[in-house]
């Protein structure tokens, strides 16, 4: 290997109570695609933020092409040739593509020249973009292209990508990978952050594995199995959830011809959704972010009402019933956004247990709250779902994402739902907690409930679903038995490649 492009020596960064990075060292060569692997909280984000100048390290040194690299701001990092595509897009919905890109540039050229450059660069890398389109109208995959093209216009020497595929269909992922390989062949180094192991195995030539802020392994991912990688990440052997054979029972939930206009300007309408869910069944609903997942959950939870006859549980029409009435009838749900939607951030776990549990758990009498009962319910959830917290008086926002997610799912599961609908149940949750949550959902189905899991994690859906359906632009495909599916078929169900072409 030639001299490394980026070399990191003994980088350490501590926050009060936690060492985010502890003596981290690694190197990336010119033209190398280097994977940074680790669970949530392993320190991947802190590490790349230091490279990108968002966080200053406590100690250690970085070099780019032999020159010391100590950026105090992202601007200095960009000047040194570092570009980054964030997991969460930083785009303005109401502006067009060229305006969004100009906003991220220190010295933008005239708009007409910029538009021409955007066309040229985006076509050269197989990511065609129309500079005049309004960003709010773009799909998630297209928005990501805007972010990537924004980086490419800087001619970066090092491109950092943070979980880029979570918003893409498998076909879009292939196109992205072709682009990245082309970039690498031209000499750009790529630091690729992900926890999707198969992707890393097919894309990257080197990997550094982080656990609890420390480098715990380096390997060539092409020669290491996904299971070995996962066990290095987690630090223990993994058990897969048990899914016993069963035959589905009678129908619990029917959704018929459910159409809803979008709730806001850039929302997704629901178009003619049909669902039947049987007792003991897990229905997996896949889809790329922003294709109607939130809207479908809101229509099932009762946050949005739908025309009469569209949502029926156990023979009773719930279309016009609000969230509380649906809970009483046995239709429970857990939205994707934990803080602020499923739970109130500044309220204690006791209060958050009361939030959805007061009716089914009998925690109120004539409107007066039984605080002792609510605290007891919160303690039951904490105990049954192994929620790590000092106690039920702790504010929800003080819990880590995984622990709060266990609490939120546990709160619904322990209420004994007839049907439970969850959106992204393991998003941003570490592997051990994710396994526990999936097992709880399977146990619930085993006990006779119906479960709908909306998720963008296809591996998760394949693992726990009996049947699989895909959401694409607010339409739900006809469900197919999960056992008969492969990734290619799922990709086509998710809407294929949204008219993208591979890099030549």
């Amino acid at each position: 290997m030639t001299a490394p492009l980026l070399s990191i020596q003994g980088l350490t960064k501590a926050y009060p109570g936690v060492v985010a990075n502890d003596d981290v060292s690694f190197e990336i060569g010119k033209g190398q695609i280097h994977a940074l692997l680790g669970e949530n909280g392993a320190g991947k984000s802190t590490l790349v933020k230091m490279i990108y100048g968002l966080v200053t390290p406590d100690s250690g040194r970085m070099e780019i092409a032999g020159q010391p690299h100590a950026p105090a701001t992202p601007l200095q990092a960009r000047d040194a040739g570092v570009a980054m595509v964030f997991q969460h897009f930083s785009l303005f919905d109401a502006l067009d593509v060229a305006e969004n890109i100009a906003l991220g540039m220190t010295d933008p050229p005239p708009m007409r020249d910029l538009a021409a450059r955007i066309r040229e660069v985006s076509h050269a890398y197989g990511l065609p973009l129309d500079p005049d389109r309004i960003v709010g109208d773009l799909s998630a995959g297209e928005r990501q292209r805007v972010e990537i093209v924004r980086c490419l216009l800087q001619d970066p020497r090092l491109l950092i990508m943070d979980e880029p595929t979570s918003v893409l269909t498998p076909q879009e992922v292939e196109i992205l990978f072709a682009t990245l390989r082309k970039l690498a062949a031209e000499g750009t180094a790529i630091l690729y952050i992900s926890h999707k192991l198969e992707e890393i195995r097919s894309l990257c030539d080197a990997a550094t594995i982080l656990r609890l802020g420390k480098v715990v392994g380096r390997c060539d991912p092409r020669e290491t199995s996904a299971r070995e990688l996962a066990e290095q990440m987690v630090g223990s052997t993994l058990s897969s959830p048990a899914r016993p054979e069963h035959t589905p029972g009678d129908t619990l939930l029917t959704v018929e011809n459910l159409s809803l206009p979008p709730a806001h300007a850039f929302g997704t309408p629901l178009r003619d959704i049909q669902i039947t869910l049987a007792r003991g069944e897990v229905l997996g609903i896949g889809g790329v972010a922003g294709n109607g997942q939130d809207e479908l959950l809101a229509a099932l939870s009762g946050e949005r009402l739908s025309p009469r006859g569209t949502v029926t549980l156990d023979g009773s029409d719930l279309s016009r019933a609000g969230p509380e009435a649906r809970r009483k009838a046995g239709l429970l749900s857990a939205p994707e956004e934990r803080l602020g939607h499923a739970a109130a951030p500044d309220m204690s776990l006791t209060e958050n247990a009361l939030l959805t549990g007061h009716g089914r758990k009998g925690l109120t009498g004539r409107g007066f709250i039984d605080w002792r009962g609510a605290a007891g319910f919160a303690r039951d959830i904490i105990a049954a779902f192994d929620v790590r917290t000092p106690g039920e008086g702790t504010a929800a926002r003080a819990l880590s994402g995984g622990n709060l997610q266990k609490f939120v799912i546990g709160r619904e599961v322990l209420q004994g739902p007839t049907v439970l609908v969850v959106n992204q149940p393991t998003w941003g949750v570490d592997a051990a907690a994710a396994a526990a949550i999936r097992q709880a959902l399977l146990d619930l189905a085993e006990a006779g409930a119906g479960v709908i899991v909306i998720s963008q994690d296809l591996d998760e859906l394949m693992e726990i679903s009996d049947r699989f359906a895909a959401l694409n632009e607010g339409r739900l495909s006809a469900p197919v038995p999960a056992a008969t599916l492969d990734v290619k078929r799922i990709g086509l169900m998710l809407g294929g490649a949204h008219d993208m072409e591979a890099a030549e």
């Binding site: 602020g340 309220m347 939030l355």
Partner: protein
């Protein structure tokens, strides 16, 4: 360099300590201001906080004023706090206060000179309804047409003030008043009077109502599901909808309660301390109550204490400007400091102050 670090959980100790810290800082900063004006700061502070209640010469007059002024402030602020907790911003309590006084007084005056103690309760009920109805205007406009309740309720104050002026010189004017503006004196008509219940304490029915409202609000917020939903809607509106809270219902409820309580304060005022409908019987309690609500942390017990403190700065301030010649503007600045420091030190509840190098967060 000083930096602030968000606490994982709000500090309980600071929640209780910040009001006292704010009062202490106000005393220091206010003392400096009085000194800069060439007045003796110790004497000024002592006059405001101590002489008003305990000076043998003045206390006889000013001590009862404490409850007279604190009563309507607490009554109005308690209602406002429920709305503020839910994120419903009723800024127009002053208007609801005026309308409550007008409607209640009008019903009483229509029955003049009947001699039955039933008239006073009737006036109280109609006064509460009047305030409620005035608050329903922003409530309905908000729920139907999504207007901003802050603007609508505030602008309705000016409508109410003009209505008051028109009534005081028109329909409600005392026919035996020799043409002077203002209604008959309600406090001197036994059927309608809201008398001092215990001599020399300032205690009247409005003060009783204020303390009952405080107790009810406390129970509502801490023990009742509706109160829980009010707090939830204010802190996490999406979570509230997920829990099944109807935003529309909450807007109507909160504006209704705060309007009714402001209306009550109005009718108790014109039948008691003010005595009659006059062009300027309202002295801004409806606006000051907003300050009281925040000073009391939107907590009913806190509001009771804040109302008393606010009333004390009023009567103490009056005494200080009378005794020491401190300009009225300086007293207002002193009251402003109190609110300023209270809001400023609030940051300690949710943040920890750190001395040292500033760092970007993870």
């Amino acid at each position: 360099m000083i930096s602030l670090e968000k606490r994982p959980t709000p500090s309980r100790a600071w929640t209780y300590a910040t009001p006292f810290l704010a009062v202490a800082l106000t005393v220091i900063a206010g003392g400096l201001m009085f000194a800069a004006l060439g007045k003796d700061p110790v004497a000024a502070i002592r006059t405001i906080f101590y002489d008003a209640l305990f000076d043998p010469q003045f206390a006889a007059y000013s001590r009862p004023q404490l409850l007279v002024k604190a009563g309507p402030l607490i009554l109005i602020a308690t209602g406002l706090a429920l709305g503020f907790r839910a994120g419903v911003w009723n800024i127009g309590a002053e208007g609801q206060y005026i309308i409550g006084a007008l409607t209640g007084a009008a019903v009483g005056l229509a029955l003049y000179p009947a001699d039955t103690r039933m008239i006073f309760p009737l006036m109280v009920i109609v006064g509460a309804l009047g305030g409620w109805a005035w608050a329903m205007i922003p409530a309905i406009l908000k729920t139907r047409f999504n207007t901003n309740e802050i603007l609508v309720s505030l602008l309705l104050v000016y409508v109410a003030e003009n209505l008051l002026a028109s009534m005081a010189v028109g329909r409600l004017r005392n026919p035996e008043g020799g043409g002077f503006p203002g209604s008959r004196n309600l406090s001197q008509w036994d059927s309608a009077a809201n008398p001092e219940l215990i001599a020399d304490t300032g205690m009247h029915w409005g003060v009783v109502a204020a303390f009952i409202a405080v107790i009810f609000a406390y129970i509502l917020l801490n023990r009742h599901l509706t109160g829980f939903h009010i707090r939830l809607a204010g802190q996490a509106p999406r979570a509230a909808r997920f829990a099944g809270v109807e935003p529309t219902r909450l807007v109507v409820l909160c504006l209704g309660i705060s309007g009714a309580l402001a209306g009550l304060a109005g009718i108790f005022e014109v039948t008691g301390p003010a005595g009659q409908i006059s062009i300027d019987f309202n002295v801004g309690y409806g606006f000051t109550a907003i300050i009281v609500a925040f000073l009391g942390r939107l907590h009913p017990i806190g509001i009771a204490l804040a109302g008393l403190l606010m009333a004390l700065t009023y009567i103490g301030g009056e005494l200080a400007s009378f005794m020491l010649g401190i300009p009225a503007a300086a007293i207002q600045a002193f009251q402003g400091m109190l609110l300023f420091f209270l809001l400023a030190v609030d940051v300690l509840t949710n943040y920890r102050v750190r001395l040292g190098r500033r760092e970007a967060s993870a």
